[in-house]
Amino acid sequence: MQAFDYVAAKSLSEAVDLLTKYRDQARILGGGTDLIVQVRENRRPVGVMVDIKGVPEVNTLSYNGSLEIGASVPCYKIYSNREVKSKFPALVDATSIIGGVQIQSRASVGGNLCNASPAADSIPVLIVLGAQCAIEGPSGERSIAVEDFCTAPGQTVLESNELLVKLVIPTPAPNASSFYLRFIPRNEMDIAVVGAGAAVELSADHQTFVSARIALGAVAPTPLFAAAASSVLAGKPVSDESIEEACEAAKGIATPISDMRGTAAQRTHLVGVLTRRALNGAINRIKEGN
């Protein structure tokens, strides 16, 4: 591994100062499960590793009208959290399948987002839940919708002197729930071939879609918010036909590639399959009162 310096930042301002001083040479270390491997494989150079796990603001996990997830909160804390389990089940779906248990002890949703893999499991969930990203830089705070955060594989809107502080997720409406699943060749430990997240709000009698948000992973350079597929469901009855309409719309925006993890044809096909399963998963959760 290349040599680098290591600093454990103790405050948010210290972290920002270090980023401002070292710019492209600095890398934020959270759980490190992507970054350490990338540095070892010479895929991301680093001069100074800035460990933010000691910065209080990136470690908070709280619910107070909205869910706030500090950027460095590890997956296992997220899927064990009572509010997350009851109100944001798709977050449980995603965080419990990122790597194995050992990875989940350290890997964070913030890190998953900043790593900006097109196949990241948590990003479609953040999109469908309407998450906002709180970013801190030398000139202060800014906020951006999560679907605008990733710009290309491995690239985000963050300037080199900015860091992601937390994700803020609004409380879902009543009669709403969410679901995430992915397709992988084995049953665990693989990168998603296709990922699909859905957040659905139904009418009080559960017969009609009030709204839906659908997001896809691994079928474009960044995780995608499937706007057309989402809006097509508003006001439609909960039925196989409506769902198929959404699936076809979702397939329409996917631009997958063929690589060692899957073929473009397979991925397009799976968009339809997984969108259907994600929508049904969310609907069943609403009907079962979860």
Binding site: M1, P185, R186, Q266, H269
Partner: protein, 728 residues
């Protein structure tokens, strides 16, 4: 607790002798050594699948602080191209330069400072392309050796062998159904979790010590001595505990380079591969292309088989096509047969042994075609095997007569098993597949040294490195002869200076061959003790008996322990080139469910039946069967070397070389039938390799029956299943 067949120790399940060390982290494996002032070695490997090396400049690397020495092929006394390339590289990952530095990170930095100029050549990584007239040729010096004669024309086909019996055309004419299919299997790796490693030290007195994880310390000694042009007696190989081998660690990769660097620097050098180096720099199992035509009568008798086997040797000839041919039809009586086997080079790492090398590939073809014949004839596939199955005295269709074998017993056990009795279930795409398989098993040279201590315990020194519990199964065999508890035997795997020559722990030979010499050593010790007791009791030797752990004459009776106090030290030292191995068969039953929307195959239930001769330690025999079956699941469904257009492997990592996890597999039920091998005093048959022979076809047959489409290419990953289902 005695076992069922009258033995006191054989057939029981004692805790393995090395167990406590292994569950507490104290066992020392190959890379666990740390010495003061140790250097770390690294190897620079070719980034190209096929290239000429135009020039190598190591000056910048040598100048890097902390780098102590750098070597290339010209520094090896004996040219050994796969260890360090000569003037051409034949696969991405081909070793070119070795270096030693003060720590592993410095060594890694130095690699990037080596400047090599290549002339990149077109590469061929597909056996179907490599056999064509217009293919890129790897070695100008390689001409086909076909049926014993050389053609004189450079080619990628290293050898062509043929087995022939009867008249296949007549046999096909006699058949009521003929099935002809072409099969392909992919390149797969043994997947041992512990990477290749060796640590070397050169003593000023001229002795070279190599600590390594290996399946054959004497192999390492011979290869290192040969390559470095040293006398074998001056190379000491110390085998540490080994983290998996499956055939892949029966040869050397880094040991000669570490040794060379140790000789030149005068310091200890440790060299350990990274995981991607293991994939790209060691020998995987060959990919294959197999065309097979078989015919049978409507009452289920096989009349003929005609097959071409093309096996990839990788960069150099030497694939296991011969063993593949030998095992392919061993379970059956086939009157008319023609097998043509071709060993083909391609720009991939030089292939090496993987658990019954060659046999899983050919069994995949044979057992799938048999299944298709059964479907066409509407015959139960296990019943078909009872009709055609071989027993003692029948010939393996390629020639040799079977001795006492237990094939039909495995089929019967599968037929009567609860798994085969229950419905596979419907409503979804479910299917059940069966398949059989054979492996010949090995014997050969082993040595042990057995010492009786004064307290009646035994030191048992052996040269067989222990990859799966053999030191215990061998100790149990000695204990059985001596009438003592397995726990009273203290087995130790020792270095090549301390024991007579011993063949590899591979070929399923160890429990048979090393067990045999341990039995002989125990018997020798008993004879010596009888002599000493005759003196002690002042009787004639022929008045002293040993039975059931007791020495006795008409007036006296003492236990082995009491006799030990009187007689020790007593030493039994045996070296023998053993024979008498018994071949073994397995029959597997697998149920799968296919998700028709995603193409994913789930293995629902797995039952593996195998003739183990006599299970010395049933738990470890079961373990071999279960481990092989799960490797088969990975080979059938998810593992493969993926190559890009330039012939470079793109998935050299456990992330994308997908081996089954605990969440991917069901419990594997094992049924061990015991048809004792007459060639071994306790009836032992090798168990380790047979288990990987049936699974590929068993799973393929299950998937084929589940989706109604015959699967002939591995792996049956979701993309291939979706295509078979016409979904994409």
């Amino acid at each position: 607790m005695a076992s069922g067949n009258g033995y006191k120790v054989v057939g029981t399940r004692p805790i393995r002798h090395d167990g406590v060390d292994k569950v507490t982290g104290h066992a020392k494996y190959g890379a666990d050594l740390n010495f003061p002032d140790m250097l770390f070695g690294k190897i620079l490997r070719s980034p190209h699948a096929h290239a000429k090396i135009v020039s190598i400049d190591v000056s910048r690397a040598l100048a890097h602080p902390g780098v102590k020495d750098i070597v290339t092929s010209k520094d090896l006394p004996t040219l050994s191209e796969n260890i360090l390339a000569d003037d051409k590289v034949f696969y991405k990952g081909h070793a070119i330069v070795g270096l030693a530095a003060v720590d592993v990170h410095t060594a890694e930095e130095a690699l990037s400072l080596i400047d090599i100029e290549y002339e990149v050549l077109p590469a061929v990584t597909d056996v179907a392309k490599a056999i064509r007239e217009d293919s890129v040729v790897l070695h100008q010096s390689l001409t086909t050796n076909t049926l014993g004669e050389k053609t004189g024309k450079p080619t990628n086909i290293g050898s062509h062998v043929r087995h022939q019996n009867g008249d296949v055309e007549a046999g096909f004419a006699e058949a009521d159904v003929v099935v002809e299919r072409t099969f392909t299997t992919q390149t797969v790796h043994q997947g041992y979790i512990e990477p290749i490693t060796a640590t070397a030290k050169y003593n000023p007195d001229g002795e070279l010590t190599v600590w390594t994880s290996t399946q054959g310390a004497f192999n390492v000694r011979q290869q290192v001595a040969g390559i470095l042009d040293r006398p074998a007696s001056k190379v000491k190989v110390v085998p540490l505990e080994i983290g998996g081998g499956f055939g892949g660690k029966t040869t050397v990769y880094v040991a000669p380079v570490a040794a060379l660097l140790a000789m030149r620097t005068g310091q200890i050098v440790k060299m350990t591969m990274t995981r991607d180096e293991v994939f790209e720099g060691t020998g995987p199992a060959p990919a294959t292309l197999i065309r097979l035509k078989m015919g049978a009568t409507k009452d289920g008798r096989i009349t003929a088989a005609d097959t071409d086997l093309f096996y990839e040797g990788g960069a150099y000839p030497g694939s296991a096509v011969g063993a593949g041919a030998n095992c392919m039809f061993a379970a059956y009586k086939i009157p008319n047969l023609k097998i043509d086997g071709f060993d083909v080079v391609v720009n991939k790492p030089s292939s090496h042994a993987y658990r019954a090398p060659g046999a899983p590939n050919s069994a995949f073809a044979a057992e799938c075609v048999i299944d298709e014949i059964c479907q066409k004839l509407d015959l139960d596939p296990l019943e078909f095997r009872m009709i055609n199955g071989a027993k003692e005295g029948d010939r393996n269709p390629i020639g040799p007569r079977h001795g006492k074998i237990g094939y039909l017993e495995t089929v019967e056990a599968a037929q009567t098993h609860d798994h085969y009795q229950v419905e596979v279930g419907n409503g979804k795409l479910r299917g059940r597949g069966v398949a059989s398989g054979y492996w010949g098993n090995g014997a050969g040279r082993s040595s042990v040294n057995l010492t009786v201590n004064q307290d009646g315990t035994i030191m048992l020194l052996e040269g067989s490195t222990d990859i799966g519990g053999t030191r215990t199964s061998i100790a149990m065999q000695a204990a059985e002869v001596l009438g003592i508890a397995a726990e009273d035997v203290r087995p130790a795997v020792v270095d090549t200076n301390s024991i007579g020559e011993t063949g590899v722990t591979g070929g399923s030979r160890t429990t048979h061959a090393t067990g045999l010499v341990a039995i002989r050593a125990a018997e020798s010790v008993i004879e010596q003790m009888k002599e000493k007791l005759a003196d002690h009791w002042e009787v004639n030797l022929n008045q002293v008996d040993f039975s059931d752990g007791t020495f006795l004459n008409s007036d006296n009776q003492i236990s082995f322990k009491e006799a030990a106090r009187i007689c020790s030290p007593v030493v039994g030292s045996v070296t023998e080139s053993t024979t008498g191995a018994g071949g073994a068969f397995g029959t597997h039953v697998v149920d799968v469910e296919v998700d028709e929307d995603t193409g994913k195959v789930e293995v629902l239930r797995y039952t593996a039946v195998q003739d183990v001769g006599t299970a010395i330690h049933p738990s470890y025999a079961e373990g071999q069967i279960q481990g092989g079956a799960v490797q088969g699941i990975g080979w059938a469904l998810s593992e493969e070397y993926v190559y890009d257009q330039k012939g470079q492997m793109v998935n050299a990592s456990f992330l994308d070389y997908r081996m089954p996890t605990s969440y991917d597999t069901p419990m594997v039920e094992t049924v061990m039938v015991e048809v004792p091998n007459p060639g071994h005093p306790f009836g032992v048959r090798g168990v380790g390799e047979v288990p990987l022979v049936p699974p590929l076809a068993a799973i393929a047959n299950a998937v084929s029956r589940a989706i109604g489409v015959r699967m002939t290419h591995l792996p049956m990953n979701p993309v291939s299943v979706l295509k078979a289902l016409n979904k994409i």
